[in-house]
């Protein structure tokens, strides 16, 4: 390499500067040079990664901590699949940058103009905008805020982010699972950088989470009544009660009973319910997909 490039450079440099007047450069020289450059690019570890950012609005930082709760898995994600380009405390970047995937944590406080502006900026600058966690997706516990709290007593209007911007994908629960954000990050990588087969898999995997974003931004334990039991779909498996982060659900004679005073409206029960959605095209291949994700993280 050191032997070749000094020889070719003097020939190419003038050719490049004369490109507009002389488009036909010696083909053989150019091809050699391009090859060298491509190889060097691929050797850079950042070459094929996607960029991910986290916009922090009115949330408790539990979602951000959840991302870090992947422990060594987070390093693997950042080494091989994604650059973290924006995140409170983790990245020293002040302004919302361009990014492939923006994870938004927290609901949006309409009384805080900066929140609204940053959310809109994040929407404009990202390819995929994810409501990361229950506050962003459904409002969660901020649904109960009526203002008067220290130290911003005037802040009382909190809405799920989809009231302000279009959202592509929901990742509910309070907090979401580290494994869920890991799976979504790997799938987003496959979707944006993978081959056709990988793109198809990633699309199939992400589809229900995208449909969830279209379903609406109100969640409650009542969803189990309205959209599962009332619809004649509940078979009493117990998943909703098992997944509830605040233990608001018990199983009484084979059906869920929601203590609505405890429910924080995080949407976990409905999203985890096998009768909210069950996509056979993905689930039937569970062994292969789990092995693939495990392999990607090693």
């Amino acid at each position: 390499m050191p032997g070749k490039s000094p020889e070719s450079r003097p020939e190419v440099k003038p050719a490049a500067s004369e490109l507009q007047t002389k488009p036909a450069v010696k083909p053989s020289d150019v091809i050699v040079n391009e090859k060298v450059e491509v190889v060097q690019k691929e050797e850079k570890p950042v070459a094929e990664k996607i960029s991910i950012g986290e916009l922090h609005l009115s949330g408790c930082t539990g979602c951000l901590v959840t991302l870090a709760d992947n422990y060594e898995g987070l390093f693997k994600l950042l080494d091989d699949y994604a650059d973290l380009v924006y995140a409170l405390t983790l990245v020293d970047v002040r302004h919302v940058p361009e990014m492939d995937v923006c994870l938004v944590e927290g609901s949006c406080c309409l009384d805080d103009k900066l929140s609204v502006e940053e959310l809109k900026e994040a929407r404009a600058k990202s390819k995929v905008l994810v409501a990361y966690g229950a506050c962003a997706a459904y409002g969660n516990i901020t649904r109960f805020c009526r203002g008067g709290q220290w130290n911003q007593p005037g802040h009382e209007s909190y809405v799920p982010i989809s009231e302000v911007v279009d959202v592509d994908l929901f990742l509910p629960s309070c907090p979401p699972c580290p494994q869920a954000i890991r799976n979504v990050a790997v799938m987003a990588y496959l979707l944006l950088k993978g081959n056709d087969e990988q793109k198809n898999l990633a699309t199939a995997y992400l589809t229900p989470l995208m449909q969830l974003a279209q379903r609406g931004n109100e969640a409650c334990g009542c969803d189990l009544m309205y959209d599962v039991i009332n619809q004649g779909l509940c078979m009493g498996c117990g998943t909703c009660a098992g997944t509830c982060p605040v233990r608001a659900i018990t199983m009484e004679y084979g059906k869920p009973n929601v203590n609505r005073d405890l429910c924080i409206k995080c949407g976990a029960c409905y999203a985890q319910c096998p009768r909210s959605w069950f996509n056979f095209d993905v689930m039937n291949n569970y062994e292969g997909i789990m092995d693939a994700i495990k392999g990607a993280m090693q």
Binding site: C177, L233, C237, A271, P274, F280, I289
Partner: protein
């Protein structure tokens, strides 16, 4: 996917453990496999349908000994919400390797928990063995009460065993009475949620088992996943099962396939019918929610 799902082998089998066979519904497959997995450290505990305060009402429990497994052996014919404990088993119980048994819809739920862990933090890689049991349809506890007490005229607390087979629901009491009712009369008591189920033999389990296809006292076993295969091979090597090839038993795999096809065809029709059950103002059909299409 075939109605019987992917499987590596199908075998007719029976436990060689007399103690288990005394309590088990058929071949004692699930109890024996969990006992073996506990013994070998493949699992630290298993979520099973344990006893409760009311007769024949199952309560999910984490079994960590063979005695606890035996207390949960046998079929109760009403739903035990075993997924209720799947996160708890890794928390309060501190299990790193969880076994779980469930009907097909519950095994589907297990796989959804693993692929889409929404509120199930740190659970996905702790599910070490998911065993499935065949299920045509299930009942609520109150429905089972109506069947046993009203139709069969027996008290719940005096029943020793319940069984479904040859078109009949049969109740055996402690004092030797046998009451039967035709299975078709049960239909109105079935949980509505069972009518959209498109899985009969727990296609997504590591190993699934049920009586259909094998002679009385034996079970038909499908070994499905890599994990399931390793456990089954280990249990066979330890001499825990006597087996017969499926093509040498009556009624054989054809009956399993026939019932699976019947269930899935019937329920697929119901899933489709739900799409046009109502009527819009413009005269076009209005549908109910379809979980197989979108949330």
């Amino acid at each position: 996917m075939d109605v019987l799902g992917n499987y590596k082998s199908a075998i007719s089998a029976r436990s060689t453990d007399g103690e288990i066979l005394k309590k088990s519904q058929d071949g004692g497959i699930i109890t024996t496999l969990f006992a073996y997995a506990l013994e070998e450290g493949i699992i630290d505990g298993a979520i099973v349908a344990g006893p409760s305060d009311e007769p024949w009402k199952p309560e999910p429990m984490v079994a960590t000994t063979k005695a606890e497994l035996l207390a949960a052996a046998g079929t109760r014919y009403n739903i035990s919400p075993n997924l209720y404990l799947i996160k708890e088993a890794t928390r309060s119980y501190g299990l790193d390797r969880v076994g779980i048994v469930g009907v097909p819809c519950q095994i589907q739920a297990v796989r959804k928990v693993q692929l889409y862990p929404i509120g199930m933090r740190d659970v996905d890689d702790k599910i070490a063995l998911a065993l499935g049991i065949y299920c045509m349809e299930n009942l609520s506890y109150q429905a089972l009460e109506a069947i046993v007490e009203d139709h069969c005229n027996q008290k719940m607390e005096s029943v020793k065993k319940m069984d479904i087979g040859k078109g009949k629901f049969t109740v055996y009491t402690e004092r030797g009475a046998v009451s039967q009712m035709p299975l078709k009369l049960i239909h109105k008591y079935v949980q509505p949620g069972c009518h959209v189920c498109l899985d009969y033999v727990a296609n997504l389990a590591d190993i699934s088992s049920g009586s259909v296809g094998s002679p009385d006292g034996w079970s038909t076993v499908f070994v499905r996943s890599m994990k399931g295969n390793a456990v089954w091979d280990g249990a066979m090597a330890a001499g825990l099962f006597e087996t017969k090839p499926m093509d040498q038993v009556k009624p054989g795999l054809d009956l399993v396939k026939k019932l699976a096809t019947e269930k899935i065809t019937k329920n697929q029709k119901n899933v489709d019918a739900r799409k046009t059950v109502g009527l819009k103002a413009d005269g076009t059909p209005k549908g109910l929610r379809n979980p197989y299409e979108s949330p």
